[in-house]
């Protein structure tokens, strides 16, 4: 056998709910009506919050913001599958996942207004603070999974990152270690087709991002990221597998960033209106709505009521955010070390408080 096959590999793709709201019954996850409605409400809330921050940012009342418009399904359905039974490691574009996990909205307002207090993850929530340096949190998730194994906690790690992040060394090092140690890790790539202005096709010559898992000896799958059921199913399977000691998975959620990269970006400089229009038709929220209508889960006025509730929740979150007031400048001296160093205390004493 002089030249022979040393290995063959396959990457799967999972689609359950199509853009007309029709689902593949055989593959439908076991989610009851209350759960599907719950997911729907979280999608609506995530979108309402997202749009509010964008509006506030335009008024100069929030800092630079990374919108999740179009990615709500992949974020919300994945986080819904994780719940509080996994440790979640978000990037800056996981507002939808955080909202699905129940993160207090006023704290998200704080975060996007530039206030660290928004990242003091509430006790009891298994969420790591947002990571800005792309991909650098992947090893954190892998380390947490190692801690979970050693400490015999059934808490797999779930790391979220974008298509761009798969090019980073830290993604590679983390994923490889997750494989080498067979750790309970679920790597969720939000392939939203763009890393700022770089299209997915120029980020890597790999035909899918899911196939990158082959390099690490574990399973990769691509799912329709605008399909809550496909996302939920893949993440649930991967979490079950992780909890069973069967190691890591990579899930590529094939989705789309409908907004600019951030409020500081202008996507029309580098991508076509047609492309955006095409993806608007694949809107994840509308799609779930159609499904629910077909299934009779959407009585008339339901969507409006959901939207109203979401607006009220966002209003309430914003009110609480405003009530909390600005952070105290002294905070800056007190949180670098658990016990501030003598020099820091001296600098605090010399600190005049004024800008």
């Amino acid at each position: 056998m002089p030249e022979y096959t040393a290995g063959t590999f396959e990457v799967k793709r999972l689609d359950i709910l199509d853009s007309h709201g029709n689902s593949d019954r055989a593959l439908m996850p076991s989610l009851g009506e209350p759960e599907i409605k719950d997911i729907y409400h979280r999608l609506v809330l995530a979108r309402a919050f997202d749009q509010r921050v964008l509006a506030l940012q335009r008024e100069g009342r929030m800092g630079t913001y990374a919108s999740i418009l179009g990615q709500e399904a992949s974020q919300v359905a994945s986080a819904y599958a994780a719940g509080n039974n996994a440790r979640v490691f978000p990037s800056y574009r996981e507002t939808g996942a955080l909202i699905a996990l129940g993160y207090p909205l006023y704290m998200l307002f704080q975060y996007w207004s530039g206030d660290e207090r928004g990242m003091r993850v509430p006790d009891g929530m298994n969420i790591f603070p947002v990571c800005i340096s792309v991909g650098s949190h992947v090893p954190h998730a892998v380390g947490a999974a190692m801690a979970a194994r050693i400490k015999k906690e059934k808490l797999p790690s779930v790391a979220y990152f974008g298509d761009g992040a798969t090019s980073k060394g830290d993604f590679h090092e983390g994923a490889n270690m997750a494989g080498a140690f067979n750790l309970p890790v679920v790597l969720i790539c939000q392939n939203n087709q763009w890393a700022i202005s770089l299209p997915r096709s120029r980020q890597s010559a790999a035909a899918t991002l899911a196939q990158k898992a082959i390099a690490y000896g574990f399973e990769g799958i691509q799912v329709d990221g605008n399909d809550v059921f496909a996302v939920y199913t893949a993440v649930k399977r991967a979490l079950d597998k992780a909890r069973d000691g069967k190691g890591p998975s990579l899930i590529e959620c094939f989705t789309y960033r409908l907004s600019d990269h951030t409020t500081a970006d202008n996507a029309s400089r580098y991508r076509s209106a047609e492309e955006v229009e095409h993806w608007k038709k694949l809107d994840p929220l509308a799609r779930l709505g159609k499904f629910m209508e077909k299934e009779g889960m959407m009585p008339s006025g339901y969507a409006e009521e959901a939207a109203r509730q979401a607006t009220a929740a966002v209003d309430e979150g914003f009110r609480k955010y405003e009530e909390a007031g600005p952070p105290s400048p002294e905070d800056m001296f007190l949180n670098t070390f658990k016990t501030p160093a003598a020099g820091q205390m001296a600098q605090l004493r010399g600190f005049s408080g004024g800008k």
Binding site: G63, T64, Y92, S113, G114, D115, E116, I132, S133, V134, G135, S136, G164, A165, S167, K168, G169, D170, A195, I196, S197, L198, R202, Q203, S204, A264, R269, Y270, P326, P327, P329, D331, M332, F333, N335, T336, A341, G343, Q344, Q347, F351, S352, G353, G354, K355
Partner: protein
């Protein structure tokens, strides 16, 4: 009258026209023109082979620039923010800065790594870094920091023409803050030389890049020398020492945390070589030794004009 972004763009266009080996590489530098639009228009002028959009991998970008520069190109790599230069620290310290010594001159790395640095634009975490001192500690790497449109253009051209690797730090806050007259035609400002922006007798204020405007404002009311270092490594010791020997007092102003910042180096140099002329403590005005806060507290962190004035008043007491 152009701002710093425009001046940098002029420098890039000029150098690319002058030398066909000069190429630009980085995330979003192409059609998008760079996050701060420093390379706006260049993709259209020079095409995708000379203005390369890179995958998201800073160590790989700087690593590729090393290979490109060793083999005939002069890459100008843009890193979107200094906070994302850190992943490339290894390539700079282990390779870019050592290829010449390692090969005893057979190969060199005539490359430039440009990145915005410093705070003041109220951006999220890791977008307001000023860790220049860590890079100044790398022998074999030059570190250059312009403080105005004019110096930006001349220094960038000089950095591109330099035969060794240069880290070029652009003060984010100043990108669009000031406009000044900048010649159309290419020109260079020599690396390694400081400039004296104001002359006086009572003290020497030493600063660079992002703190220079505040330093100048604070200096307004006093009879002091103001030195803009422009190149931090190797820096112009002679200019610093000559001034301090004249004035007997030194205040060094940096944005970075105090501990092991570049101001410490300048202060140490003065304490070593101009001690007999000193009439007052060598004083540093610096960021605090704490983790750089998010935007809401940023203004409390970055040294303001009052802190500089206080330091001047303090040294003048002696």
């Amino acid at each position: 009258m152009v701002n710093m972004v425009e001046a940098l763009n002029m420098a890039l266009a000029g150098e690319m026209a002058r030398d066909s080996n000069v190429v630009i590489m980085g995330e979003d530098v192409g059609v998008d023109g760079g996050v701060f639009r420093v390379s706006a228009g260049l993709y259209g002028m020079f095409g995708p082979e000379r203005v390369m959009d890179m995958p998201l991998a800073e160590s790989g970008i700087v690593g590729m620039a090393i290979g490109m520069s060793a083999f005939g190109l002069v890459p100008v790599a843009e890193i979107q923010f200094m906070g994302f230069l850190y992943p490339a620290f290894d390539q700079l310290i282990s390779n870019a800065s050592r290829i010449r010594a390692r090969s005893r001159g057979r190969y060199g790395c005539p490359m430039v790594v440009r990145t915005p640095y410093g705070g003041g634009i109220k951006a999220i975490e890791l977008h307001s870094e000023s860790a220049e001192a860590a890079f100044c500690h790398i022998p074999g790497l030059k570190v250059v920091v312009p403080s105005s449109p004019y110096t930006a253009k001349g220094l960038l051209a000089a950095a591109i023409r330099d035969p060794d690797p240069v880290l070029f730090l652009e003060p984010t806050r100043l990108y669009r803050l000031i406009k000044e007259e900048v010649p159309e035609e290419p020109f260079t400002i020599p690396l390694g030389k400081a400039r004296l922006l104001k002359e006086g007798r009572d003290a020497t204020l030493i600063s660079w890049g992002s703190m220079l405007q505040k330093t100048l404002k604070a200096a307004g009311a006093y009879d002091v020398d103001v030195i803009d270092l422009m190149t931090l490594s190797p820096y112009d010791e002679d200019a610093v020492l000559a001034s301090v020997k004249k004035t007997g007092r030194a205040v060094i102003i940096q944005e970075a945390p105090r501990n092991c910042g570049f101001a410490s180096e300048v202060a140490a140099c003065i304490a070593e070589k101009a001690i007999l002329s000193l009439r007052a403590p060598v004083t540093r005005v610096a960021g605090y030794d704490v983790v750089l806060p998010f935007p809401k507290l940023e203004d409390f962190y970055i040294p303001n004009q009052r802190r500089i004035t206080d330091a001047i008043e303090e040294v003048l007491k002696y």
